[in-house]
């Protein structure tokens, strides 16, 4: 239903999302059995030059859920995440095979316009990376490059996004200040707000709290719980407790393969693969 056109239809989208919200209630009650997927990955393989980083990945990401990706360092978590918005292509030696569909569109096709995909799929990075601009400009950047010029609309988007990332109260009096004057945790929420400003459908997060202190981490986790209502979220994390706390589904990666993918409760209480159990219990040690 959400088309891949540029966001001059933003206003229309808001109306749609209200409709969605009402039908949503019905959907959650009756569709728990087979929820809608946003991403379907089929036999995905990825190589960095000769390094076979992802091997025969088959995974579905469900709508309005938090999907956690866990696994030891170097197992391909970030690589998979970056494949979902094709950021992985920034590495020139990358080759892929297999199919990823996003809402039934095959996104790995060269003909698929990557900018359209990234307009629908936001990303939050491990290290907060705001632009060296004012807080306001950081949030307005996305809408601006997609053609929104009207100052009033931009003001609204900025406020809404900052509220959405629950940082509005902290920064509302200093919107004109450089974002680099904020703490790491605040910067990360600015980056989340920047992502929300273009109202994507999916948010990809690569260890978004690993550079943050426990308190900021908690705030971001709470935020993710909030965002889940409107967005599908895929999060890579090294923190088992975090995965257990905030995610609905968990995928365990090992050496470029998906060892196990199931509901988070199942993974953490009753994993079917020994390696999953070893990894999880090792971590809890």
């Amino acid at each position: 239903m959400a088309t891949l056109t540029k966001p001059n239809i933003k206003v229309k989208r808001q109306v749609i999302s209200e409709e969605e919200a009402t039908s949503e209630v019905a959907a959650t009650t009756k569709q728990n059995v087979h929820k809608k997927t946003v991403y379907d990955t089929k036999d995905l393989n990825l190589w960095y030059g000769d390094t076979h980083a992802l091997k025969d990945i088959n995974l579905s990401i469900y709508e309005k859920e938090v999907t956690a990706i866990i696994g030891p360092s170097g197992c391909g978590k970030s690589t998979y995440l970056k494949t979902l918005n094709r950021m992985v292509e920034l590495v020139p030696s990358v080759k892929t095979s297999g199919v990823i569909t996003y809402k039934d569109k095959s996104i790995l096709d060269k003909s698929f316009k990557v900018e359209d995909l990234r307009t629908k799929v936001g990303m939050v990075f491990q290290k907060p990376n705001p632009f060296p601009k004012s807080i306001y400009e950081n949030i307005a950047y996305g809408p601006k490059i997609h053609g929104i010029r009207n100052k009033k609309i931009l003001d609204e988007i900025v406020e809404k996004s900052l509220r959405g990332a629950s940082i509005w109260d902290e920064v509302k009096d200093r919107l004109k200040e450089n974002a680099y004057g904020l703490s790491g945790g605040q910067q990360q929420r600015i980056c989340i707000a920047r992502c929300l400003a273009i109202e994507p459908d999916v948010i990809l997060m690569d260890e978004p709290t690993s550079a943050l202190d426990p308190k900021s981490t908690l705030r971001v986790e709470e935020l993710i719980q909030e965002l889940k209502k409107d967005y599908s979220i895929v999060i890579v994390t090294h923190n088992m407790q975090q995965a257990a706390r905030i995610s609905d589904r968990t995928a365990f990666f090992l050496n470029g393969e998906v060892v196990e993918y199931d509901e988070t409760d199942k993974i953490f209480t009753n994993p079917s693969d020994n390696r999953t159990e070893d990894y999880i219990s090792g971590r809890f040690g």
């Binding site: 950021m87 995909l117 990075f125 990376n129 060296p132 950047y141 490059i145 450089n178």
Partner: protein
């Protein structure tokens, strides 16, 4: 293990012993520790005192000049006739020539330099960059007299082929060539500024659906702006101070005009011409050299101050 054995070995001194030995023999070290900073200060002082000396001389001789020629005549006079029966010493023709040649040069060097920098830092593959950068450096290493010669014997005739009304000596040709000379400086400094913008920022923008062009012009260039402006200002300073090219290719008419097809003289070229033998020490012409040099100095000084102010104002911290 092997290391442990060695250290425990009685024949060999332990590391702590060696350190203690070094510490005991530290008399010499402590002297050098004290002497070196003084020495360094003296060396640094040489350049400071030289600068002060130069400015002092300029100032004294300039004051002498203004005892003979009223300040207002100098700064508002549009006629410069140092050798005439009734000499006039208006500096405006020289300032005009300097500014016009610098503008022409920057119109060439600015856009080409920055586009080159964008290409090198954002689009070129590692291999292309590795071949192009040394070539730029070669361009930067050509002596200016060669550029001057090139302007006079190649560029001017070429321009006159197309526009026959252009004079044999004119400000356009050396201006253009000066621009070519400055390209490497702007390209290389701007490229440095752009490459040092962290990749995380490009990724942040790309992840929002920005195209490569949008990333370049709305993230990278703004983030590198202070460096880019600094390169421009250095380029302008270079153009203002450039001597050989204009001396050779623009002749020595002290016209006060905005017609770039005519010959004009810059401050630097005037200094070359006059100090080339026609100025007996103590004459007004002789002192006019200092007044012009002082003006030139103030010009470059202002440029540098402006550069600082602007680059601080536009700085995007990251």
């Amino acid at each position: 293990m092997a290391l442990d054995n060695k250290i425990d070995n009685q024949d060999k001194p332990s590391i702590q012993d060696m350190i203690a030995k070094k510490k005991n023999g530290k008399n010499l070290t402590s002297i050098t520790e004290k002497v070196i900073p003084v020495l360094l200060f003296l060396i640094a002082a040489v350049s400071i005192f030289t600068t002060i000396g130069i400015v002092y001389t300029l100032l004294i001789e300039t004051i002498e000049f203004f005892k003979r020629v009223p300040v207002m005549d100098f700064f508002t006079g549009t006629a410069l006739k140092p050798l005439s029966q009734n000499p006039e010493f208006g500096v405006l023709p020289l300032i005009n020539g300097t500014i016009i040649s610098s503008i022409i040069a920057m119109l060439v060097a600015g856009p080409i330099g920055i586009m080159t920098a964008v290409f090198l830092s954002e689009y070129a593959s590692e291999r292309v960059r590795r071949t192009l950068k040394p070539m730029l450096e070669i361009l930067a290493g050509i002596p200016t007299i060669v550029y001057g010669f090139f302007a006079f014997t190649f560029v001017t005739p070429l321009i006159r082929e197309v526009f026959p009304s252009v004079e044999a000596t004119n400000i356009l040709s050396p201006g253009l060539v000066m621009g070519v000379m400055i390209i490497p400086m702007i390209a290389s400094l701007s490229e440095d500024a752009m490459t040092s913008v962290p990749n995380a920022m490009r990724e942040g923008a790309l992840a929002l659906g920005a195209t490569k062009l949008e990333v370049t012009f709305r993230v990278v260039i703004p983030a590198a702006l202070s460096g880019i402006i600094a390169s421009f200002v250095l380029g302008i300073s270079r153009a203002i101070g450039e001597t050989m090219i204009v001396t050779i290719a623009s002749g020595s008419s002290k016209n006060f005009t905005f017609d770039i097809t005519q010959s004009m003289q810059t401050m630097t070229a005037y200094i070359v011409e006059v100090s080339g033998g026609e100025a007996p020490a103590g004459s007004t012409i002789y002192f006019s050299l200092y007044a012009v040099a002082m003006t030139l100095f103030v010009f470059t000084l202002l440029m540098n101050l402006l550069a600082r102010y602007v680059s601080r104002k536009f700085r995007e911290e990251y």
